[in-house]
């Protein structure tokens, strides 16, 4: 008896499993695994590993700025932090949309999580990191004083919110989807707008409650625009 004959005889003895039962089992397991992986915390955990280091580092830099306050005057460093905000927001959107930037969107759309979930998870992570950095920076700049902390927070969040809203609107257009890096142009635009407002209305000091209301409205608009952008991902797939 040759080795080949022995192998064939042994394999034939065991036969093959029932294909219908096997297929049904594989399908049911795949479905269970999909449900397990499709939860929001699981998606966020998966995407956290794929966000590039610079996205985290830019948030850390904002927190580090107030720490150099002792060596430099308060006002310029705070102004630097506020001026950087549009670019920080723009970077966040670019990082979240990076599948588009690298022409990998179609590939991401075919994955288990879907492009919609991946974009949602990445934006939530980057947004949370940047928001925490802004809060920490505001607290450090104001040295814990409630009044000045609110002013500092509003001054930092306002340009961030405006940039994010405009970037979301832009990313939903055909041009925006084809040119993800155009978010930098939006950031530069907001930065210039901020400079113009600061120079033309230097003498005007708005009431904190008015600014707080404006910030709240902008945050609501930002959430709506974010939701629309997430849904656009799904629409483009469908």
């Amino acid at each position: 008896m040759k080795d080949r004959e022995l192998k064939d005889a042994l394999k034939a003895y065991a036969g093959t499993p029932d294909p219908f039962r096997k297929d049904a089992f594989i399908r049911s397991v795949a479905e269970k695994e999909k449900r397990k992986r499709a939860t929001i915390p699981a998606q966020i955990f998966v995407q956290a590993r794929y966000i590039r280091v610079y996205a985290w580092l830019t948030a850390v830099v904002i927190v580090l700025l107030p720490l150099f306050e002792a060596s430099v005057k308060f006002a310029p460093l705070f102004k630097v932090a506020a001026d950087v905000m549009p670019f920080l927001a723009g970077l966040g959107v670019i990082e979240a949309m990076r599948a588009e930037a690298h022409n990998m969107a179609e590939l991401e759309q075919t994955t288990l999580l879907s492009a919609k979930s991946a974009f949602f998870a990445r934006m939530i992570l980057i947004g949370a990191a940047q928001f925490a950095a802004i809060l920490a920076a505001a607290a450090l700049f104001s040295k814990g004083e409630a009044g000045s902390m609110l002013t500092a927070g509003i001054n930092l969040i306002l340009p961030h919110c405006v940039t994010n809203i405009l970037c979301f609107v832009l990313e939903r257009t055909k041009f925006g989807r084809e040119n993800v890096w155009s978010c930098f142009a939006v950031a530069a635009g907001v930065f210039l707008l901020k400079l113009i407002v600061e120079t033309t209305a230097a003498s005007f000091t708005p009431d904190n409650s008015l600014l707080l209301l404006l910030t709240a409205v902008l945050i609501v608009i930002e959430i709506v625009e974010f939701k629309k952008t997430v849904n656009t991902e799904e629409l483009s797939w469908n």
């Binding site: 022995l6 394999k11 003895y13 065991a14 089992f25 397991v29």
Partner: protein, 148 residues
């Protein structure tokens, strides 16, 4: 993990231990469910370990079935020759040491590499190679002389 890739291998491995198609399929599926719960990174070795443990549990629970038992469960074979060959293989395998039988199944049925078998059976590669050679010779001899 791609279940499809391992399903048939685990099924055959279990079938050679329990000698019952329906039971082998049940235990195969249980093996994968246990493996998925464990979230282990090394599928091949752990699938075999889980399958082996499940078979041991099954042995303790019920007496393993023979080819005749399976026939009683209305498993039909087209040709009488096929049944005779199956009976001969079953009896020849029964005469091997359990460890040798396991290595034969892993090597000749599932085409596992020697290094992998050594890891599954916790033996040196040389020992696996030597025992496989002896088991193969014995199996051939038994089959050629009709299990005399």
């Amino acid at each position: 993990m791609d279940i499809e890739q391992y399903y048939d291998k685990i099924y055959r491995y279990i079938f050679y231990k329990v000698n019952n198609r329906a039971l082998a399929e049940d235990l195969t599926q249980e093996t994968f469910l246990k493996f998925l719960k464990s979230e282990c990174e090394e599928p091949e070795r752990f699938l075999y370990t889980i399958a082996r443990n499940l078979c041991i549990d099954e042995y303790r629970r019920i007496k393993p079935m023979t080819v005749e038992d399976e026939e009683a469960l209305n498993v039909s074979y087209e040709f009488e020759d096929d049944l005779v060959t199956r009976q001969a293989i079953h009896e020849a395998l029964e005469r091997l040491e359990p460890e040798d039988r396991e290595m034969v199944v892993l090597r000749f049925v599932n085409d596992e590499p020697i290094a992998e078998i050594a890891r599954i059976c916790k033996m040196s590669r040389f020992a696996v190679y030597r025992r496989l050679k002896e088991a193969k010779a014995k199996l051939k001899e038994l089959l050629e002389r009709g299990n005399g």
